[in-house]
């Protein structure tokens, strides 16, 4: 499978990365080179093989049902959470108008 400029433009839009024509033109052969190379995976016989998501067998734990059990990840951190926001206002994240 290979991608054309329209497909790369579609992917870039899904990934929310603005790309002009020149950037798209440049990206097409690069992505095709990578995609053609990874396609050798298609020759592997994977009959009966389960896709692997986690390499080391591990079970999910439940944390204690306690408010702010870990103060670092608990609540009450509004100012810390907003400290690095590019446009924090009145205790909220500021964003451009969403509804026209």
């Amino acid at each position: 499978m290979s991608v054309d400029k329209a497909t790369v433009a579609k992917i870039a839009s899904l990934a929310r990365i603005r790309m002009d024509d020149a950037a798209l033109e440049r990206m097409v052969p690069e992505l095709n080179g990578i995609l053609q190379w990874v396609e050798q995976l298609g020759e592997v016989d994977v009959t009966g093989i389960e896709p692997m998501a986690a390499v080391i067998p591990n079970t999910l734990r439940l944390r204690d049902d306690v408010v702010d059990a870990d103060p670092l990840t608990g609540g009450g951190k509004r100012d810390d959470v907003l400290a690095n926001a590019p446009a924090a206002e009145h205790g909220f994240f500021g964003v451009p108008k969403v509804i026209e």
């Binding site: 991608v3 899904l14 990934a15 929310r16 080179g33 896709p51 734990r61 951190k77 964003v95």
Partner: protein
């Protein structure tokens, strides 16, 4: 007196404990060495005050007769992928420029708790994506090594290139690294130092800027196997804040170091004899076999038949996870915002991400977005996850016949900066020997073996069973004792 900056972790810790010198003297010596080495561009920011404050705490604790931590008095470099409280954390990206965390990553906190201090935040490939340290927004890191007879700037490897350059240049006794597909081992090999990636889950990922979460793992980089064992002991441990953290005892790796390999079997994977590998690398591999045999081990041939597919599987899985992880950079909560006049929220996201990510990061996000998109998910992503399962199964079967695996770390020595930029694929291939162990989550280490005809270091890689960091470190120690690697870069910076 020995120059303090020539000392490693163990010698500094023991010297401070004995009173041969103070932690403050050590911190001052390294702060000065860091300041002198700006031309390496190994650090994005330096934090001399952090190093001094930590040192003063250790000196005061010693004066008070308190017990000292296992890294007491050792100033280290921190890869700029670890969130550090009050100190800019960028992942070498523009999009995180100026980001100043209000919290500390688990691994860095554990190091401070063990008595270490921070010399600064080390440069890296942007979001740890790269193998040469040429994708950083803050400029390339230059290796302290030079090719014999050439003045060309060489690559320190990547992504932990600031870490490898700093440790090799003796401006830090040790540094943290992270390894997603070779990012500790390959730079360690390129610069003649040691680096170990532990079993996936040993070190908490909490507070490490995420690249590919099922692969990312932190580890130490230092100039000896002992130093790596000490520092890994300080970094590892269960952390409830990381859902994939291993809930297991951390063994005392330092105390159990033992280079006597009698009764151990070392596997030599035949598929790692690949075309395009330097003859000098193949020769060093032969030498490595002889060293481990000399240490008492039996050498056995093993097969890892799906090796060829590890790299393509990695370049689907890692970008897929990256495209998802990096979706968080939206210009709203932290980092850069690019808001052209009169545009709405969606255009702000797209403009911010266009301005904030470098080319390699964009490339990987696009690949990841594509392989996860409707209609292609099964053909690419599911197939890659199955390929990954086969790579992991290869190792499991091989470990029925051997205790550790010996292989080269890289197919080539370091190369000049700028020499591999034509095609992204040629760069990817440099991790061909490193990626399989990452996909399988196994502990793996690079140890310096020798110097090639160009005067550049070559590394050997040891891969172990899950949770058997000890076996990896022990084999590494056996190589270290026999290799007698003492070469160091001549100071030109």
């Amino acid at each position: 007196m020995t120059e303090l900056t020539s000392l490693g972790v163990k010698d500094i810790r023991d010297g401070v404990a004995k009173g041969d010198f103070t932690a403050r003297e050590v911190a001052e010596a390294f702060n000065a060495a860091v300041a002198e080495a700006a031309s390496l561009n190994a650090f994005i920011v330096t934090t001399p005050d952090h190093a001094l404050a930590a040192a003063d705490k250790v000196d005061a604790a010693r004066a008070a007769g308190s017990e000292l931590g296992r890294m007491a008095g050792v100033p280290i470099g921190m890869k700029d992928l670890f969130a550090t409280h009050g100190v800019q954390t960028t992942a070498a990206s523009h999009i995180l420029e100026g980001f100043t965390p209000r919290y500390e990553s688990t691994v860095s906190q554990k190091l401070w708790d063990a008595g270490a201090g921070m010399l600064g935040k080390l440069n890296l490939d942007q979001f740890a994506m790269g193998s040469s340290n040429e994708t950083s927004y803050f400029g390339n890191v230059t290796s302290p090594w030079k090719k014999a007879g050439s003045n060309a700037a060489m690559s320190p490897g990547g992504s932990s290139g600031g870490s490898s350059a700093a440790v090799a240049a003796r401006i830090a006794p040790a540094a943290t690294g992270t390894d997603t597909g070779g990012s500790i081992r390959q730079p360690a090999a390129f610069t003649g130092i040691c680096g170990i990636k532990p079993t996936y889950g040993r070190c908490s990922r909490w507070g490490i800027v995420a690249f590919a979460s099922s692969l990312d793992q932190a580890g130490p980089m230092a100039r000896s196997v002992e130093d790596c064992a000490i520092m890994l002991g300080a970094m590892a441990g269960f952390d409830p804040k990381d859902a994939t953290s291993l809930q297991m005892e951390v063994p005392d790796w330092e105390a159990a170091l033992n280079a006597d390999l009698r009764g151990k079997k070392v596997g030599i994977p035949r598929e790692y004899r690949m075309e395009g590998t330097d003859q000098a690398i193949l020769d060093s591999w032969e030498q490595g076999k002889a060293w481990l045999k000399d240490a008492g081990a039996e050498i056995v041939d093993v097969s890892l038949p799906h090796t060829k597919y590890a790299l393509p599987a990695y370049y689907i899985v890692a970008p897929a996870e990256a495209s998802s992880n990096l979706a968080r950079y939206d210009g709203v909560r932290y980092g850069l915002r690019d808001l052209p006049d009169g545009v709405g929220l969606q255009d702000m996201y797209a403009a911010t991400r266009a301005a904030g990510f470098g080319d390699e990061v964009k490339r990987r996000i696009l690949i990841g977005t594509y392989v996860l998109s409707a209609g292609f998910y099964d053909a690419y992503y599911t197939q890659a996850q199955k390929g990954r399962a086969l790579v992991a199964r290869d190792f499991a079967l091989a470990f029925e016949q051997c205790d550790v695996i010996l292989a080269p770390t890289t197919p080539t020595a370091s190369f000049p900066l700028g020499s591999m930029n034509e095609d992204p694929l040629t760069m990817y291939l440099n991790d061909v020997f490193a990626v399989p162990a990452s996909l399988a989550g196994l502990p793996a280490m690079s140890v310096p073996a020798t110097i090639n005809a160009d005067g550049l270091p070559l590394g050997l890689q040891i891969v172990g069973r899950p949770f058997d960091e000890q076996g990896v470190l022990n084999a590494g120690l056996a190589i270290q004792q026999r290799a007698g690697f003492t070469a160091k870069p001549e100071k030109w910076w």
